[in-house]
Amino acid sequence: METAELLQRCRSGDSLAWEALVRRYQARVYGLALSYVRNPEEARDVAQEIFVRIYRKLSSFNDQENFLPWLLRVGRNACIDHLRRMKARGSNVNSPIEEDMEWPAPGQSPEAEASSGECRQLVYAALQRLSETNREMIILKEIQGLKLEEIASLLALPLGTVKSRSNRARTELARAVLALDPAAGTTYGA
């Protein structure tokens, strides 16, 4: 079923349609929360909060708009709010990722899963070395695949600034990855 039809049914109060929508986008929302929060437990709570916000705001969603960028915008705002709350409480929002943490990945063969897990860990660790601005650019552009225009609108920045920041952020990330593992790109089967 198309997303537009699901949304229409959700608006009329069909809980089955809402469940289908949650199942369709939960991996995406959880992935977004994980990118920002970097702690699986907290990311789960934030992802839940994102869905509650989406549920409350469904009536204000414009059908002419693309749903995914709207969802990512709502999700990004929820993640930023969460990080601000954590900062206000004095929690360390830049806590290092645990070495033995298992990163949830979509179903793969055990070998591919192990390799994918190591690869994710390396990239997330490198992401932590970036500035907040560069990290957000990587999350929105490279990971979530938003268009430059959508990012410019979301962050209220000129398109040229977003473009140059995006390029710079990728190179910075590549250098951070190499600093952590000089063999990156060859070890993980580039």
């Binding site: 608006r11 109060g13 809980s15 809402w18 469940e19 949650v22 199942r23 939960q26 991996a27 995406r28 959880y30 992935g31 977004l32 994980l34 990118s35 789960r44 992802a47 839940q48 869905f51 509650v52 549920y55 409350r56 705001k57 469904l58 009536s59 990163w103 949830p104 990945a105 979509p106 179903g107 994918s116 690869c119 994710r120 990239v123 997330y124 990587i138 490279e142 990971i143 979530q144 695949g145 995006s166 390029n167 710079r168 990728r170 190179t171 990330l173 590549a174 250098r175 990855v177 190499l178 000089p182 990156a184 790109g185 060859t186 993980y188 580039a190």
Partner: protein, 281 residues
């Protein structure tokens, strides 16, 4: 034996030394173009220049390799599967959220969330004290307040003549005194009573009754809040109406020139003589 030709390493070294003494290293400039190069978005001129740099710079070549690798890897991080109970938990939470299409319910929910968030703030006691100070200042400190003179006069009275404080509780309130500040002034000069017709309701009685109604007002306020939070808006509305009645009664008791005569309550016995205008007359 001396060489008469230079090999590639020598030329690279020569180039590096020349750059050091002129424009500086070209690597930062190359780094800025590596991401568009990996995407194939670099203009032809820039593309050729960067590629030429890469044939001589191993470090930049490694960075380009990593950028290209990241281009494939990063999109795979967009999704991560939560645990199996996630969907069920989301459904349970959103079931508690009432229909988002009934706007008034949504507004109340938002107001409730905002109130909870406000109460959870660590600075709340400080802000409460600040608001309290502002209210006290508005009541007693501003030039337009009818109560502006009361605290100072009461303190002076207590200091100068403590017996008068006890006596003040039974001083009759003249009919023309609609203002508490005037009443306080009258208390300060009991030897020069006003000549208007007295009212048998004393200032102490008024404060006593107003206090009862204030307690009732607070009780109804709390119950109204509680019922509203529980979603019982009808009961909440009833308590709101009762709060209005209490506020009106307090206003009449304290401020009206001719307060309603209510059945007198038994007062605690006092040794101070009751001075009324009738007696003085």
């Amino acid at each position: 034996m001396e060489r008469d030709t230079l090999d590639r390493g020598d030329f690279d070294d020569l180039t590096r030394r020349v750059l050091e003494q002129t424009s500086g290293s070209a690597c930062p400039s190359a780094h800025e173009r590596l991401a568009p190069l990996a995407d194939g978005m670099l203009p032809p001129g820039d593309d050729a220049l960067v590629r030429m740099h890469l044939t001589h710079c191993q470090e930049c070549a490694r960075v380009l390799e990593a950028v290209t690798w990241l281009t494939k890897v990063l999109p795979t991080l967009a999704e991560a599967e939560p645990d199996a109970a996630f969907t069920r938990d989301v459904m349970a939470v959103t079931a508690q959220v009432r229909s988002p299409f009934a706007s008034w319910t949504a507004w109340i929910g938002r107001a409730r969330d905002a109130a909870r968030a406000m109460l959870a703030r660590p600075r709340l006691p400080l802000e409460g004290a600040y608001i309290g100070a502002v209210v006290v200042w508005l009541l007693f400190g501003t030039s337009f307040s009818p109560l502006r003179d009361v605290p100072g006069q009461a303190a002076r009275l207590a200091r100068i003549n403590p017996a008068a404080v006890a006596q003040a509780a039974v001083v009759p309130i003249p009919r023309f005194l609609s203002n508490p500040a005037d009443s306080a002034r009258a208390l300060l000069s009991p030897e020069d009573p006003p000549t208007a017709q007295p009212e048998r309701l004393t200032w102490g009685d008024r404060l006593d009754r107003a206090g009862d109604r204030a307690l009732s007002l607070g009780r109804h306020g709390l119950r109204m809040t509680g019922e509203t939070f529980k979603g019982n808006f009808r009961e909440g509305g009833d308590h709101f109406r009762l709060m209005g009645d209490d506020a009106k009664a307090i206003w009449i008791i304290l401020g009206a020139p001719d307060p309603p005569v209510e059945p007198a309550r038994p007062r605690p016995t006092t040794t101070a003589p009751q001075r009324t205008l009738e007696k003085e007359a």
